[in-house]
Symmetry: C2
Subunit: 284 residues, 2 copies
């Protein structure tokens, strides 16, 4: 399908892309860029990629599809370096967890040079780095694509086809819708898990000694990389702030129900929450 795929940054997502693409398309030339020589040497030793280099020109030249798999904050400066080097038929995408910021910055940088279309494969874990990468990371996950008004049907087909080959189900949203929804189902849960950990940290007793599986599950995401999450929060401030405010209001309502012994309303609150959570089980 794709003649040459350039993967920029061999972390969890970039590394998994490399493995997943190699497993599914023997004909695609896979080129990987890493900032550090030791990372390049590890990728060369793996022999999964056709090209591994710290020289970005070698990696992106003639690439049909370029996927930025670096932290969001590093994307604009890397895009500035890549833009003059790509063929004008190249399509550039990314894997960032925030879309308005990324699309706004990269649309501008690639204007007149290549076409940028934002992607967000909703796969990952609290693990990071190439050592956690796996060929099936994207299997059965949702990939959100956020086309701009300039994105052509051909470009959409190429990007959608790419993620579908890797096992993703495609959903299309505007960058703003994406950021609002993801603030709710990913960024707020991370903030909440971190806040729960802080409460056990503040406690006089060793509260963790008494935590069970429920607590472990609820707080697992708090182990995610702080640098990455600080950057995600910083580039999605407004939607996350709104989600956190809505969460505060829900908790304030629960406090009122406890204070007024409104057990019937509490029961209704928990019953509705259970129905909503149970509906998730039956989905793929």
């Amino acid at each position: 399908m794709i003649s040459k795929l350039a993967i920029i940054g061999p972390g969890l997502l970039g590394g998994s892309l490399m493995y997943a693409m190699r497993a599914r398309s023997a004909d695609t030339k896979i080129a990987v860029w890493a900032r550090r020589l030791d990372a390049v040497e590890i990728i060369r030793a793996l022999t999964t990629a056709d090209i591994a280099s710290t020289d970005i020109a070698t990696v992106v030249s003639d690439a049909e599809l370029i996927v930025l798999c670096v932290p969001i904050g590093a994307m604009p400066s890397l895009a500035e370096k890549i833009a003059p080097l790509v063929s004008d038929s190249a399509i550039v995408t990314d894997v960032g967890s925030v879309k308005s910021f990324v699309v706004r910055s990269l649309d501008q940088i690639f204007a007149g040079k290549a076409r940028f279309v934002g992607s967000h494969p909703m796969a990952g874990s609290e693990m990071t780095g190439l050592s956690a990468a796996r060929a099936d990371l994207f299997q059965d996950s949702v990939c959100i694509i956020t086309p701009s008004p300039q994105t052509s049907p051909t470009e959409m087909d190429l990007i959608s086809g790419f993620w579908q080959v890797l096992g993703c189900r495609i959903r299309i949203l505007t960058p703003e819708e994406h950021d609002r929804i993801v603030a709710l189902v990913s960024h707020l849960p991370h903030l909440v898990a971190a806040a729960l950990m802080h409460l056990t940290r503040d406690a006089q007793s060793d509260a963790l000694e008494f935590s069970g599986n429920g607590f472990r599950d609820t707080t697992r995401v708090a182990s995610g990389a702080p640098e990455m999450w600080t950057e995600i929060f910083a580039t999605n401030r407004e939607p996350l702030k709104n989600a956190a405010q809505a969460m505060i209001e829900k908790l304030q309502r629960a406090v009122r129900l406890l204070e007024t012994c409104s057990d019937k309303e509490m029961m209704q609150f928990l019953t509705q929450a259970k129905a909503q959570r149970d509906s998730l089980r039956s989905r793929k």
Copy 2:
């Protein structure tokens, strides 16, 4: 060790107690009380217990240890029925998730009749009922025992030994300490998970369509039985209210950090949360 064990209520915990005890002690006579005849018939068909009956006198008479495995709200009225029937050397315990309320009520009911000592095995899941019961449910979990000033060393030895045989690690707390800690590591996480589900319910878009593994883990406990959790919340109002207030304050602080672009402080907040969460991984 124990000549006769009476299990009052064959749900997830009572049923698991039955299986676990049978697997570990061939000599203990196991008697199970169920409110409904059809439940008794299921237990008889399983042949794991020596006695299964809706007649509470048959089940508790001559029992050395009686374990109340019914919902917290049903404990006082059942205890009133059991108290006149037990031998005065009998020890009564429970498996309730709240301790001040239970210990206060049951200490009084059994005064002069049998000795009550509260227990809280921190095992369970969002599943309920006998069909979810398993012999290894208590293996490697923490069991908190909340003795009263009247509890003798012999009584403590019997209760501790009982839970240890089933695979639990024993921790001893006062009922008030128990309720404060459990509000933080179990009741608040449940409330938070329910609130997150409500936010996705309120959202205009189908937010669940875009949720990944992190969201699933963070909200898993929201599938727990609403009746049970309403009762837990209602019998632990004050500690849960305080925990929810502390959570609101943490979220308000996070909102301020977002508003003032205090990314360095946010990074520190997330780094501390990660360190605290990572410390949980290395524990058993």
